[in-house]
């Protein structure tokens, strides 16, 4: 019998064990192939306005995916091989040369991988159509662009290449395994855990404090980029260390405390459950820490991206209040623009205005000295835009808003910059000082306006003065006239937007800003990121869920003896099932809970400036997805463990 025959025979006999490994590899292949084939899909590419963007992002993500797949398969392979140590030992004992065993394992791996790749690419072809449709939807493309149903050769080639590498690596690893262990070790049981790990209350406390400090540092309101970097750096280190310490010290400490509490411990199956967990907990530290941190990051990013996507419309409305806006520098240009917009019957003009704006150099004002943090951006060289009160009110009305400003002579109002959370309380008592023609004119702030009326630019410094003051100002500094239009159905005005872009091509002086292009860009960008982050997040969820599941299965096999004793001592099956379910819950829920907390903080940090938006739905969705997927793994795990430990 050759190694080849032995391998085939082996596989048939080992079918059950192989199925777990097979499934996990299959899933990895399917996901990777699906993702990569989307990248090469002609339909999607054509639909995107910025295909370069799509390409790069997809490429980066597929690398991340490949790395995930490598780690996950590596882990599954290690788990699988460890379960076979006894079998390998048996072969060696029977006199089979290690070289032969190695070759046999290699053949097994090759057969398996070939099967997996074939099945995976087949399944992936089916799934990529499904995911293609989801992606199209997210990108807001109108026509259901044909994603193309057929095997993408480049994708298949790429997949095979990547997984061939992974398979090679794992084969080498198992080959080495045979040579690494002396024969006796292959028969020896796995390393025992510690029934009574030493716990340090100080370390436990340190863990909690570190995490709290990390959170505090991250959530501190920031004023400069350097501060931000510093805060986040501190937060990162604190949270990393704190999380690791949490699992290494705090959790064991808690369990040990429970154990010392006799009335809580000497009660029913608590004795079994708590001692089991304490026994195993040291072995889980690295896995838990990794899962908590990475799931925190994924959750955080997913929430952020989702929020961005959810509010694409809203944020565009804030940054581009009017459908079309341009500076009036050339009457012929103005006329062409006007006619293009007018002739767009599908999107009739609802309002049209000319807004005069005095664009003052910030050095001619005192804004930089006003101690409201956004105004630190009012450096010399930057522009402060000044509007008249009536122009503001006109614009506000044209935009269908109710907000109006009422200024007496010599008063001023500020418009709240986008993404900032200023309140009028900060302005009370302060004045805007205009320094024109040698004069210093202080204008007290009497209001803070919420509605922005012109396109966002950096820095977003707008102030409104009374008509009289504006008139004077306009004499000293020539105002720029902005022609603004508001049309119906601005989210769909693609044709007009394209034509206007063409007209304004190469002309920076007209400063054309359109709602449609910004909306489309935001939607595409956030839609794309949402898809990718969601996809990767799901993959990551599945991978970590599987890892916990495998680990639990291994431990269950080692626990069979203990549970037999319990059955003999008279613990009923129901009681055993309950303690199994409880212990498994602990193992799944703990890293998830910590990860959720981290994710929430991350989300809060990056959405700090988004005032007045209700985040409930995005948050519920992202955390909900996590909980659902983990719950499925949890249920499967309890079921499997129950079957192993609690047989009828």
């Amino acid at each position: 019998m050759t190694s080849w025959d032995l391998a085939k025979k082996n596989m048939r006999g080992n079918a059950r064990n192989y199925s777990i490994y097979f499934v996990s590899m299959l899933v990895s292949v399917v996901i990777y192939y699906t993702f990569v084939s989307l990248q090469y899909s002609k339909g999607i590419e054509a639909g995107m306005s910025s295909s370069q963007n799509l390409r790069t992002v997809f490429l980066g993500s597929s690398i991340v995916l490949a790395l995930f797949a490598a780690v996950f398969i590596g882990y599954s392979n290690a788990f699988f091989t460890r379960n076979r140590k006894k079998e390998i030992g048996l072969y060696a004992l029977l006199g089979v040369r290690r070289k032969t065993i190695g070759r046999m394992l290699l053949f097994e791996n090759l057969i398996l991988s070939a099967l997996v790749l074939a099945a995976g690419i087949g399944l992936g072809t089916l799934l990529s159509k499904l995911f293609g449709m989801i992606l199209v939807r997210l990108l807001g493309m109108d026509a259901p662009t044909a994603v193309g149903f057929g095997i993408s050769l480049e994708a298949a080639g790429g997949t095979i290449a990547v997984f061939a590498l992974i398979v090679l690596a794992t084969s080498l690893h198992s080959y080495r395994l045979i040579y690494k262990f002396p024969l006796i070790e292959l028969f020896r049981a796995e390393k025992m855990g510690e029934p009574a790990p030493r716990v340090s209350a100080w370390a436990a406390l340190a863990a909690v404090l570190l995490i709290a400090a990390g959170y505090a540092s991250a959530l501190r309101p920031i004023h400069t980029t350097e501060q931000f970097a510093l805060n986040m750096g501190i937060a990162l280190v604190c949270i990393l260390l704190g999380t690791w310490l949490l699992f290494r010290a705090a959790v064991p400490a808690l369990l040990a405390a429970w154990r010392r509490n006799k009335s809580g411990f000497y009660r029913g199956t608590a004795m079994i459950g708590v001692s089991q967990l304490l026994f195993r907990v040291r072995g889980h530290v690295r896995t838990f820490s990794m899962i908590a941190l990475l799931s925190g990051i994924t959750l955080g990013i997913f929430s952020i991206v989702y929020i961005q996507y959810y509010f694409a419309e809203r944020s565009t409305a804030e940054s581009r209040p009017f459908s079309y806006e341009h500076a009036s520098v050339d009457p012929a240009f103005d006329k062409s623009v006007h006619s293009v917009i007018d002739t767009d019957a599908a999107h009739p003009v609802v309002a049209r205005l000319s807004i005069p704006v005095v664009e003052l150099d910030a050095s001619l004002t005192n804004l930089q000295e006003i101690p409201i943090h956004y105004y630190s951006y009012a450096e010399p060289g930057k522009t402060v835009s000044v509007l008249s009160a009536s122009a503001y009110n006109e614009a506000s009305e044209a935009l269908g808003r109710r907000e109006r400003v009422r200024l007496s002579a010599g008063e001023a109002a500020a418009i709240r910059p986008m993404l900032d959370d200023q309140t009028y309380a900060e302005y009370k008592g302060k004045s805007l000082e205009l320094r024109i023609a040698g004069e210093k004119k202080p204008l007290p702030f009497v209001a803070l306006l919420e509605g922005r009326v012109l396109s966002w630019r950096f820095p977003d410094l707008f102030v409104v003065v009374d008509d009289g003051t504006f008139y004077e100002l306009a004499q000293a500094a020539k105002p720029t006239i902005f022609e603004v239009y508001r049309v119906q159905g601005q989210e769909k005005a693609q044709a007009t937007a394209d034509r206007l872009s063409a007209l304004a091509a190469g002309r920076d002086d007209v400063r054309l800003n359109m709602y449609y292009s910004e909306y489309k860009r935001t939607q595409e960008e956030s839609g794309l990121f949402l898809f990718i982050v969601g996809f990767l997040g799901l993959v990551f969820l599945a991978a970590t869920g599987s890892m916990i599941y495998f680990k639990q299965m291994t431990e269950a096999h080692a626990d069979i003896g203990r549970y037999e004793v319990l059955r003999k001592l008279g613990v009923s099956r129901r009681e055993l099932r309950r303690t199994i379910a409880w212990q498994t819950l602990f193992v799944f829920a703990l890293p998830l809970a910590v990860g959720t907390a981290h994710g929430y903080v991350i989300m809060r940090v990056f959405t700090a400036g988004l005032v007045g938006m209700n985040f409930t739905i995005p948050i519920l969705l992202s955390m909900g997805a996590y909980i659902v997927v983990y719950f499925v793994y949890y249920a499967a795990c309890v079921y499997s463990n129950d079957r192993i430990l609690n047989p009828a």
Binding site: Y266, T269, V565, K568, L569, G570, S572
Partner: protein, 255 residues
Amino acid sequence: MKTIVEARNVHKTYGARGNLFTALQDIDLTVMEGEFVGIMGPSGSGKSTLLNLLSTIDRPTSGEIEVDGVSILNMDEARMSAFRRDRLGFIFQDFNLLDTLTVKENIVLPLALARTNLGELERRAHEISERFGIRGILDKYPYQISGGQKQRTAASRAIVAKPSLVLADEPTGALDSKSATDLLECLQELNVRERATILMVTHDPFAASYCSRVLFIKDGSVFTEVGRGETARPLFFKKIMDVLSVLGGGASGVG
């Protein structure tokens, strides 16, 4: 005097049709309260099977078994577990201690499972550990103590809930002679002082000599039975050896 075990016409067969193996054949057994009964026989004679049947771990193919007045045949799983927990105590050859628990926790496990009052639980733990001479190692883990101490822990666990019947399966099998003697002395004392009913399966005639009565099983049925009466233990030992030599010719399981 109460009857603790009453087994009538007990049969146990394994396997499917055409491939039947009879482990036990028409066994009758009665054990009264306070007896220390030994069951001996060569390997494969069915003695462990019998013990499994009496301890509700296995079910007979036919026959009746009553333990402490309760028929254990048609009990559902939940009741059987409760019965095992409250009325039976076990001592196994390989100790079967939970290595995740300390000696003390191992001992009180049955009480904890039955949600016994904490004060009562502690009292019992102290009393029993004193009795078996393991008071000093209460806080140690199984991997830190000797085989003899482990078995005494297991014995403590077996009687801590004051069971009606203690079942021991080759309790001295894994022990050196001194530890074995210690354990057997403890069991005997339990039997004499507390009138604990003990049923012990063994192939070691030395262990069997501590019993008040020994049954010999061969090929699934009872071969013979010897009682100790007032005989001194060494003499009883000799009597057992005689039976064994008749039983086996080249008596297996000796020495």
